[in-house]
Amino acid sequence: MNKVLPEFDEELLLALKRGDDKALNLLYRTYFPMVLHFIGNNSGTEQEAKDIYQESIIVLYENLQIPGFELTCKVKTYIYSVSRRLWLKKLAEKSRYVGKIEDFESFIPFVKEDAEIEDKDMQFKVMKQALEKLGEPCRTILEDFFIHNFTMQQIMEKMGYTNTDNAKNQKYKCLMRLKKLFFSSYHSE
């Protein structure tokens, strides 16, 4: 557990925690061929490899943002393990799993993080669906306000409302609708 990580990994992880895009780009380029090779050799396409790989990167990235998260293995092993697990799940969904996975790297099994990750995945999925159902212009307004941190003034200007109260009113209505949509499917999940 106290294994010293390679210098490259150490620096990369620090930069990723800071939210460095260059580091993310470097990380992305470094391990894509490995995952492509793995999935390509286990009855997957390049597009599937890309999706799985991006999901794995997101898992790593999000975990790194959690305070107190410590990587217990090399970045390479981590990415491979996550991709492997995601791909097995995908194969099981498609019922294409033939019982034998051809491995090219060592990997670590995941147990305890599974529930947490799945929880997050579910939230993401439900929110995505809710937003899709919500439609425009609500979606843009909410995204601008909550994600891009626009002020009411900016939203008013962008959407062409006559005053901020109108915009506020609109935002409120949209939020209520989203809430309804979100929880209706969240509870059924």
């Binding site: 780009n25 992305y28 380029r29 991006q54 990167i57 997101i58 929110m127 909410l142 994600i147 409120y172």
Partner: protein, 368 residues
């Protein structure tokens, strides 16, 4: 029920933008109002999910951008990469390929060498044994000259390729000669040159590869069927020193040769043949070998190239065996072998007078 200002307050509380007093106030309010507490926690979950969604989509966009960049780069580098990959291929596989190539070369050379060696062994054995068919280059040339002098049309001209000897064994037109004489023949003619030149078309009816014997049948309707066969067969092994003679066509006219049986075995101990001390030449192949009493002793087939005066003749016994082994169905007419030797009391020149009618010059036409 929550209204707009309520929501705003919840938002501000969760975002942490409320002042200390306001937050405390709000918290006590939550404790008193369970409805509000549920509202706050659900709003919290909603906001969390929303931020998660926002972050993930943002991240995904970035990753997609990276991927696109990577792909365009790799596309731009593809030609260079292709070249590089060829280099890598060579570097990686050159040793294997070299080994494979050398194995292939060794195998091929080895096979060629072995086959060639075996072949040359075979050739060496045969090279001392000369088959006595005569290649008719001179005739060919002469004929060519005549033809070219008389006619410019040479399209259906076929040269005589080989000349040798054969003899009649059955009055209905069966002739025995050597297999090597007629091997590969397009057509075979037999010529008798005793009183006048008679030429008959013949076709091969049987060949025996192992004894080197062939049986021809004259197919020409002009052939006189009533020709009598006066000689007999000697199936008993002849003794050494027994005088024998032959009639053959080593040239365009019949040539008589005589000598003795000098060994009971032929080339390299072949028990199916005799060694005889008759000077033979190309063209003697297929000539009958007869003893003093006009019995057929053998058929001359070849000579030793490395020894003086060593010719070989296939024993008559084997000729009879070959004739017996011919399937009846493959013959147009049965072979009627001579029953009685009518020349055994005659002197040799008298015997020859009878025999010369039965000895033919076999001419083989072969289109090359």
């Amino acid at each position: 029920m929550v209204n707009m200002s309520n929501i705003e307050q919840i938002e501000q509380y969760l975002a942490g933008t409320l002042s200390k007093e306001e937050a405390d106030l709000f918290e006590t309010k939550i404790k008193q109002d369970p409805q509000l507490a549920i509202e706050v926690s659900s709003h919290k979950l909603l906001m969390e999910s929303f931020t998660l969604y926002g972050k993930r989509t943002g991240l995904k966009q970035k990753l997609n951008q990276f991927h696109e960049e990577m792909e365009t780069e790799s596309f731009a580098n593809r030609s260079r990469f292709a070249k590089y990959s060829i280099q890598v291929f060579w570097k990686k596989h050159l040793p294997t390929m070299v080994v494979a190539a050398s194995v292939a070369v060794i195998t091929v050379m080895g096979t060629l060498f072995t086959v060639d060696y075996l072949h040359s062994l075979e050739n060496r054995q045969i090279s001392y044994y000369k088959e006595l068919k005569r290649e008719l280059n001179s005739i060919k040339n002469t004929q060519k000259n005549i033809v070219s002098a008389t006619s410019s049309n040479t399209s259906d001209y076929k040269p005589v390729t080989y000349s040798a000897t054969g003899f009649l064994i059955s009055s209905n037109g069966y002739i025995v000669t050597n297999r090597h004489v007629i091997a590969g023949a397009d057509s075979v003619y037999v010529e008798s040159k005793v009183n006048e030149l008679c030429r008959y078309k013949a076709k091969e009816v049987y060949i025996d590869k192992f004894s080197d014997l062939a049986v021809l049948k004259i197919t020409d309707p002009d052939f006189p069927i009533s020709m009598k066969i006066p000689y007999g067969f000697k199936t008993r092994e002849s003794d050494l020193g027994e005088p024998v003679y032959t009639l053959a066509f080593p040239r365009e006219d019949m040539v008589y040769g005589d000598g003795t049986i000098s060994s009971k075995t032929g080339f390299e101990g072949d028990t199916a043949a005799y060694q005889i001390s008759i000077p033979v030449n190309p063209g003697n192949s297929g000539a009958p070998l007869l003893d003093d009493r006009g019995n057929l002793v053998g058929i001359i087939s070849g000579k030793h190239t490395d020894a003086e005066g060593a010719a070989f003749a296939i024993k008559a016994k084997y000729l009879l065996e070959v004739i017996d082994s011919i399937p009846r169905d493959s013959l147009p007419e049965p072979i009627i072998l001579p029953a009685k030797n009518s020349i055994k009391e005659l002197k040799r020149p008298e015997q020859i007078k009878y025999l010369q009618n039965l000895v033919f010059n076999v001419k083989v036409y072969q289109h090359k």
